[in-house]
């Protein structure tokens, strides 16, 4: 953990002192990058580092779907199933992805390459249907576009 703590210290130095609660989310994201997924003991670790109540960190951890609490694949595909995208055929695309990857929404492929998550609004309704893979947005999707995008991923 000591190298993690160094990174914590770095981040902390750019925040005003006494604003420990504001650091909860940045540290959770940082830790997620390091560890892939987070557990309660990670939340407790951050809480102790920041000297905030552990339950407060656990609340944040469980509230955000982007803070994974289970191991995920190398690439995480988040496809929107909210109203805008659904009107533009998102449900069919989710099914297509499920068939293509051979997994259900919420699962990870056996080779550990992809995790498929259906999510609520990605705030990209103007260019629906949309999905996010890792940190990149892909918009105005159709099946062949999805084929192309997945092929280009390592």
């Amino acid at each position: 953990m000591s190298c993690l703590e160094e990174k914590f210290d770095q981040l902390r130095s750019v925040y005003p002192a006494e604003m420990n609660s504001s650091l909860v989310l940045p540290l959770l994201h940082l830790m997620l990058k390091e560890k892939g997924h987070l557990t309660e003991s990670d939340a407790v670790f951050i809480a102790q580092y920041l000297d905030v109540p552990p339950m407060q960190v656990k609340e944040a951890l469980t509230w955000y779907t982007m803070l994974y609490r289970q191991p995920v694949g190398k690439h995480v595909i988040k496809i929107c199933r909210n109203i805008g995208c659904s009107l533009m055929g998102a449900e069919r695309l989710i099914e297509y992805l499920e068939r293509k990857l051979g997994i259900k929404e919420g699962e990870t492929t056996a080779d550990g390459r992809f995790t498929l998550l259906a999510v609520e609004c990605l705030a990209s309704c103007g260019t629906a249907p949309a999905m996010q893979i890792d940190d990149t947005y892909h918009e105005q999707l159709n099946e062949s576009k999805i084929d192309q995008i997945l092929k280009e991923l390592s």
């Binding site: 309660e40 003991s41 407790v44 109540p53 552990p54 339950m55 407060q56 656990k58 609340e59 469980t62 509230w63």
Partner: protein
Amino acid sequence: MIEITIDNKTVEANEGETVLQAALRNGIEIPHFCYHPCLSIAGNCRVCLVKVDGRPKLMPACNQTVAPNMVVETEAPEVQSARAAVMQFIMLNHPGDCGICDKAGECRVQEYQFKYGMAEPISIEPKHHKKKFNYLSERIVLDNERCILCSRCVRFTREVSKSAQLGIVERGSHSYVARLDAQPFDDPYSDNVLGICPTGALLSREFMYKSRVWYLEPVRSVCTRCARGCSVNVWRRKKHWYVRSLGEEKNITAYRISPLENPEINGRWICNTGFDLHKFMARPRAMAPMMAGNTVTVDEASAEANRLLAGATNPAIILSAHASNEELQAFKEKLSPRVQVYTREDYCPAEGEVVEDDLLIRADKNPNSYSVHAMFGQKAFSAAAGHDVVIVWGDQVDYTSLGNAKIIHLTSYAPEQETRADVLLPISTTFERSGTFCNFEGKTNRFEQVFDKPKLVQHASDLFGRL
């Protein structure tokens, strides 16, 4: 002071207070779940919506600060229908299992649903299922289905007891109250959440299924477990609900303890030790007078005590810090000139017990040290003073520290050794008489009699008249 109008009535409100606070102070009822006078304002339950003149929509009374000449309506048709809708929403996923819920009879959800929930249930989809028996600790069980997510319990641990051990995890209708998986809810004030939870989500494991609350009634008492002397309610079975088949014992059991609001001393809270007061009181009692290990009659025991005292050249008494002011007074008038007076702390902090904190708990684990010291000073017994007869008042006495003196012991409880006293006279407990204690700040607090004393047990104040 500013004037506002609530339901066509002019009421005085304090600057800065909320409409709900002004209404409650003036005896106007506005329903509220999440608002609690000792906690921060959360404004999440919405059952307190009222109409405020000039506002485009209904406002939560708990989160609306009063302003001069504000006009508020609490019973307007749109307020009533909003309340009904809020109740409909809260009941959407509420299991409604009052029949098997310990809270029934003192449950705010039940009460408001009855009073304000005129809307038809609209659940067409199955209710959300959550964990029903979620053991937060040895003491408390949480039924997540019954919880209405008012966050009172969470705010209590953050703002009052400061352990911050509870939180609300997950999101939306999936969210629920939780503690850390790795740590039980072992806050020394944890049981207070049982009382502030407006529904049957948080229940005492000890009281679970012991009695329906409408068979019980509270009696005002004082916790004797430390020098704070918190006001408590002792819950006993109502007389007209005595049932022979329950057995004598269940009819005269103290079922549970709850805090009794006392702004001077403990506010609305007590500590877990106070919640266990009935268990402390239920330890094996000294039920009959004894002489050197043999049971005797009250008269025989008193006669022997008198004989010992009359023959004594240097008698002494060790006072009990559990004695009430009235008992101490009786002793002072009737017996004190004839004996050398010593004092002691009957109880010292037990292992693992919170010794003292800055909320309520005091290091002196006795309820009336203040009066003992005020009336008789403070002087520890010394065997070297060569007393030939010692009256020991109170329990938890180590006889070996008393030297070779003859022992007359007045006690409510009887561990093994007590039977070795030359004379043992059983006395009543705080639950068996009325009286007052003075807490560590000298504030007087009154306790009422909860039960009759057993036949062969005497009140200490009567005893002094006879010695």
